[in-house]
Symmetry: C2
Subunit: 421 residues, 2 copies
Amino acid sequence: MTLQERDKKHLWHPLTQHKLHPNHLAITKAKEALLFDDKGNEYIDGIASWYTCMYGHCNAYITSKVYAQMQQLDHVVFAGFTHEPAIKLSEELIKILPNNQEKLFFSDNGSTSVDIAIKMALQYHFNQGEKRGKIIALEGGFHGDTFGAMSVSGLSVYNGPFEDFFIDVARIQVPTKENFEIVKEQFIKLLSENNVAAFIYEPLVQGAAAMKMFDGRLLDELLAIAKQHNVLAIADEVMTGFGKTGKNFASEHLVNQPDIICLSKSLTAGLVPMAITSTTQNVYDAFLSDDIGKGFFHGHTYSANPTSCTAALAGIELLQSEEIQNSIQRIIKSHQTFDARIKNHPKVKETRQLGVIYALDLNVEMDRYGDLRYKLFRFFMENGVCLRPLGNTIYILAPYVITDKQLEKVYQAIEESLAII
Amino acid sequence: MTLQERDKKHLWHPLTQHKLHPNHLAITKAKEALLFDDKGNEYIDGIASWYTCMYGHCNAYITSKVYAQMQQLDHVVFAGFTHEPAIKLSEELIKILPNNQEKLFFSDNGSTSVDIAIKMALQYHFNQGEKRGKIIALEGGFHGDTFGAMSVSGLSVYNGPFEDFFIDVARIQVPTKENFEIVKEQFIKLLSENNVAAFIYEPLVQGAAAMKMFDGRLLDELLAIAKQHNVLAIADEVMTGFGKTGKNFASEHLVNQPDIICLSKSLTAGLVPMAITSTTQNVYDAFLSDDIGKGFFHGHTYSANPTSCTAALAGIELLQSEEIQNSIQRIIKSHQTFDARIKNHPKVKETRQLGVIYALDLNVEMDRYGDLRYKLFRFFMENGVCLRPLGNTIYILAPYVITDKQLEKVYQAIEESLAII
């Protein structure tokens, strides 16, 4: 039996209607920006395996560091105990996070980092005698699939069975020049009710909404208002973090810094799972008390797993290397040149770019999981490029180590795909 | 600065009131059943780092397999793609899971595996046109800290800030000979309302409730009744899984098998995070449809991460080895001998054992996070043994590779600790 056949026996894939899409391509190897299947075909990983493997697949620097750690200390309970990989990671990560960030709380995926951020925000107010129960979120935002994270996500694809169990969320439109006065007014009205605990947002780029980008100055104004009302700002940088927007974190494009930041995906360079919820001294201090119950009684078994911490630490070293920083600039320029060449194509409705994130909307209506989307996906794969359109949006978010030649192959595949729609 | 001092700058530990417990012992090395601190002291890991490192810390067989995998294929999106580590793991895990289990859905920690189980149960009924919104759970159960998992946990230590956002849960007492008729009646009454989606339980041992054990035959009766009402049974085997109860899974002690099983912790042998929610063909089939919306649109980026799958696969191989199976029997007998020697001590109120899990309750009243608990913890550490009492319960759940000599040292530390309370 082939791997694809064996796959069908016992595996239930995420985000998949198995009746309509029973076949899963078997990948057997990956190196730098390339994926290889079981028939020997190679594909450029144009989305860095969901924006994780940014320093290249199977990066030898990272894997050798991680192997050394696995032989030294694999794991230990992180309540009552600590270890050097977590300590070093905290020191290095705090150096590159926005200046106001001081404390790191660990978990294992982006969804849990968001559930933790929400719980922190609720308890922050509760510990100070205020029962604030509402969260404000942006329309079209995506923050994960656990109950808390799902509640604040405004990208309701198929939430029917669960929506009775969502936490209390007020949703505002993504601010634009056109709607800003209305959005601002609504935002202020919500805050004036004094029951808003936090405002959660993906800064500048809404990833799962199809790399929708919006004006940071407008978001900045909202953040300034939130601060006046002691409403905590939660930046979900699970997708945008670690260099993708041209700065280490998307929040650096803004003046007002978040109280809480959610991190995962390329945090561990695509090697192993881990997530972090980082926050300020002010938030942390609200949990310090002689009353034990004011502590944050949340915990995951693999919190600050030394293996994962080591992968993260090696990733951060690479991120700051001249080689990767130069590569980021190279990709940014390359995307700009490609944009000039494609943006006026009649089948292209709109293009946008922030850092190494490039997206173009097609001049067609498409369902998020519609047939054309799968047709395009297959076309790209047949042309040796792994791109996964979201609705009518084609986007590129490749590993930083992608070569110029590989980038050109991705661009050509996109140009040629316009002929089949 | 020492590691302990550096730890305080930027790390927020789980389940910790930092004002009362600011110091975290720095562990620098682990091997087999031992932990080593930065001063060169060694400790027997009597709880296998929260029941994860069951095959011994830094197990060379597992780490070498994982290192090979990291160099071959680190990660790839698990929607539309598949890979051998996930396929092989599914084949080997299904072989040892209860017979009715057929499909595996991946996530990254025990909490998310429970959120997924709950979402599966809700949508299972929803897809068949029934809106069943209630979950039944056991008092004192613990299932994790994300919003869904926290909702079904009956171990409400400090849930004040969050309880307004819990999903709809009805709680029943853990069945005992004394209360069983009342519990059964209440259970049947709840089910007769036709709005119960699932019944979640830790089979036979409630871990975080302090290794509370209960009669499987009574649970079995409840499971038979649940089945008659098409209420899905969710067994949370995050703690009990992979040999700890003397069988591969605690559910094997029962006649009625669960529809859904949650797995994590020792699934990946303590090396890296991963979780699995396994289920039956019947549950899986309820999501198959030409209607894409009936699929399970839940997904985590690191789903079925090849590195983690490889750790799990190596762990399952070891679990089934003669060496580990013999070791499990050796520890079971050793605990029985220790029990005979300590159970009549005046300071011991009750002892209990299932498989390699051994617990004793002290004849004193103690808060879950009270002072005596920390005094005992320090006493054990000073005697070279890492045990973390839960309330007035001292329990042992050591790696299967613990030696007889190390076991004896653990027992002696427990005996000596009775003098200080």
